[in-house]
């Protein structure tokens, strides 16, 4: 019987500070056993995993690397609780565990042939990065229509994956709408304003073939919903990724539910239609 609580052993291969305030770091992990990597690499963009530090605990984090990137997995982690604080103090070469992939993913089969609008805010951009890399992969790009990305953070220095963002800006197979809440940087070339406002201004109007994927802090989600509705998106066309406190990640420990749905196993990805049928306990 396979034990779903045992993490795959991994070694920290690289640690990069991701934002100017150093509250986020991106960790690159390499699996100690090749077979484990093979099993894990079946993940799809949108799934998460439990980062597991023996003696400290586990935390559920969205997978930031993309299935098309081989040989490693990446997670961007915000320093906030006991486990993340410990993780931020760990060094390259330290051994820990990863348990997953867990949860469902953005509905890639359904999104084939569709236009995709990706809307993200702050540090909830990790699985969205995974998604963008996946869609931009030469093997996959032709399967999708237009790709629009609205991504905002407080300041330019708080944007995740800046190098990649600016590289995507130069491409013509993806429409980037990067924004910041405000900046003193007179060289800032992109948008200034909150994500919902930029969505209203820059995101494409809804049609039957366009779907929006939204991931961000609760306040952004709250105001993005009406913005999308104004553009004509219906409940089925708005796909969201939720987070709740989790422990087991496999639907057994019972704390992450919204109504009968378990965010860890039945989610974290839900359509707005599904979410509207459940109590809003997230």
């Amino acid at each position: 019987m396979e034990n779903p609580y045992i993490p795959y052993p991994v070694v920290i291969d690289d640690i990069k500070i991701a934002t100017e305030d150093k509250s986020l770091k991106t960790f690159k992990f390499v699996f100690l056993n090749k077979q484990d990597e093979k099993k894990f690499s079946l993940y799809k963009a949108g799934q998460f995993a439990e980062l597991s530090i023996p003696g400290i605990g586990e935390i559920p984090i969205g997978i930031a690397s993309s299935p098309v990137e081989k040989g490693f997995v990446k997670f961007t982690v915000f320093k906030t609780g006991v486990v993340t604080s410990h993780l931020h103090n760990m060094k390259v070469g330290d051994i820990m565990g990863i348990r997953g992939p867990l949860g469902n993913w953005y509905p890639w089969d359904m999104l084939k042939g569709k236009n995709v609008v990706i809307i993200g805010g702050g540090f909830a951009f990790t699985t969205l990065r995974s998604s963008i890399i996946y869609m931009l992969d030469p093997a996959n790009r032709s399967q999708f229509g237009n790709i629009d990305v609205v991504y905002g953070a407080r300041t330019p220095g708080m944007l995740l994956y800046r190098d990649e963002l600016y590289e995507w800006e130069t491409r013509d197979d993806i429409n980037m709408h990067i924004t910041v809440d405000g900046t003193n940087d007179s060289d800032w070339k992109y948008n200034v304003g909150f994500v919902p406002a930029i969505v209203e201004k820059k995101a494409p109007k809804a049609d039957l073939n366009t779907y929006a994927i939204v991931c961000g802090p609760p306040i952004m989600i709250k105001f993005t919903e009406p913005a999308l509705k104004k553009l004509g998106y219906n409940e089925k066309q708005i796909i969201m990724s939720l987070e709740n406190r989790m422990k087991c990640g496999i639907g057994m420990c019972g704390r992450c539910n919204i109504g009968k749905e378990l965010v860890c196993k039945d989610g974290p990805v839900f359509t707005l239609e599904e979410i509207n049928k459940t109590p809003k306990e997230y």
């Binding site: 034990n3 779903p4 400290i56 051994i95 987070e243 709740n244 406190r245 057994m252």
Partner: protein, 352 residues
């Protein structure tokens, strides 16, 4: 279906016999309370016992259980690599478990043994266990199990059902596992099946009639989740709640748990503990945000989970077996029977 007759004079001898192959668990009286525990060589299950305070779920799902272990000593080869804690899963039998508690084990099984994931600690323990039930001839005043898909003589989840007929036990053999246990115990006196079953059915009817309290659940399925969630009665129900975990910890069907790491020297264990949705900590995000920050929300969650979410998710009845432990032990008398009936008869205010 076979029925075996066990003379009460032979009972202790049979228990002694079975201890040679099985670890036995049963109810015993300690400090005026009945509890389920592992029986020592000179201990026998109390066959007259009233409800144990805590349900026997702890035999398969202990309140604290080590699940993984790791050595943190960097000088050894496999340091920081987490491994399953080795455990003894030899044959065991639970004697004198009440039918509703056995039904509760079936409900827990739905959570721990799923198509996608199997909890190895539960599944191994479940596989190793034989359930020898004892029919309830005189239901307590708190018992409402006849309206929760089980009852004083229910057989679901049991391998053998014992019926106490004053001088003897009649043992209804329900599974091969049950037969194997009776063989080891040396209980093999066959009896006139037809007659025995008639006796049992009469006793069953009598016991069922003795249950005075019922709940109505027939409308729950068709109720809209959000209507129930927004029903006006939750504040009233929750007012007296002190947010302790008594109801969930004594409940035979509450399965929620917490995972913690604890370290001693270089040895680190990952441990799981029972948890309760009554605790604000249960859902508190690291950011400080709490989706169920208010007491009322937590009380509502417990009842909605048991009586609506579970029903909708598994289509297998409600997540309550009617044992009455929470009704009896809640310090402020929040009564699931009352809440269930309120939910079952709730009609949303159509004006809004």
């Amino acid at each position: 279906m076979k029925v075996i007759k066990i003379n009460k004079k032979d009972w202790e001898n049979g228990i002694n016999q079975s201890k040679k192959e099985y670890q036995l668990f049963g109810p015993v009286k300690e400090k005026d309370n009945y509890i389920f525990k592992k029986l020592q060589l000179d201990e026998y299950p109390d066959m007259e016992h009233k409800d144990t305070l805590v349900s026997p779920k702890s035999i398969l799902f202990p309140q604290t259980e080590k699940i993984l272990q790791t050595n943190l000593d960097e000088s050894i080869d496999d340091h920081h690599i987490m491994k399953q804690v080795k455990k003894d899963y030899s044959k065991r039998a639970v004697i004198s478990i009440k039918p509703y508690d056995a039904k509760a084990i079936q409900i827990l099984n739905l959570n721990f043994d799923t198509d996608e994931y199997k909890d190895p600690y539960w599944c191994e323990a479940y596989k190793a266990t034989t359930f020898i039930g004892l029919a309830v001839n005189n239901p307590s005043v708190f018992d409402f199990s006849s309206s929760t898909n089980t009852g004083p003589f229910a057989e679901q989840g049991l391998d053998v059902l014992l019926i106490d007929c004053s001088k003897e036990y009649l043992a209804k053999v329900l599974t091969d596992k049950g037969q194997a246990f009776l063989d080891v115990a040396g209980f093999n006196q066959e009896t006139d099946n037809k007659k025995a079953i008639e006796i049992i059915n009469n006793m069953k009817k009598k016991a069922e009639n003795a249950i005075s309290s019922q709940i109505s659940t027939q409308n729950l399925k068709d109720k809209n989740t959000l209507d129930l969630y927004e029903a006006p009665f939750w504040d009233d129900i929750a007012f007296s709640c002190i947010n302790c975990g008594t109801c969930s910890f004594v409940c035979p069907t509450c399965w929620c748990f917490d995972i913690q790491d604890e370290t001693k020297g270089n040895l680190s264990y990952r441990i799981r503990n029972w948890d309760t949705c009554m605790s604000p900590l249960f859902t508190l995000h690291a950011s400080g945000h709490n989706p169920r920050g208010e007491k009322t929300m937590r009380v509502r969650q417990r009842f909605m989970h048991k009586l609506k979410y579970f029903l909708d998710k598994y289509d297998n009845g409600i997540m309550c077996v009617g044992c009455g432990r929470c009704v009896k032990l809640c310090p402020v008398n929040i009564d699931i029977r009352k809440v269930c009936n309120l939910m079952n008869s709730h009609e949303p205010d159509t004006d809004n």
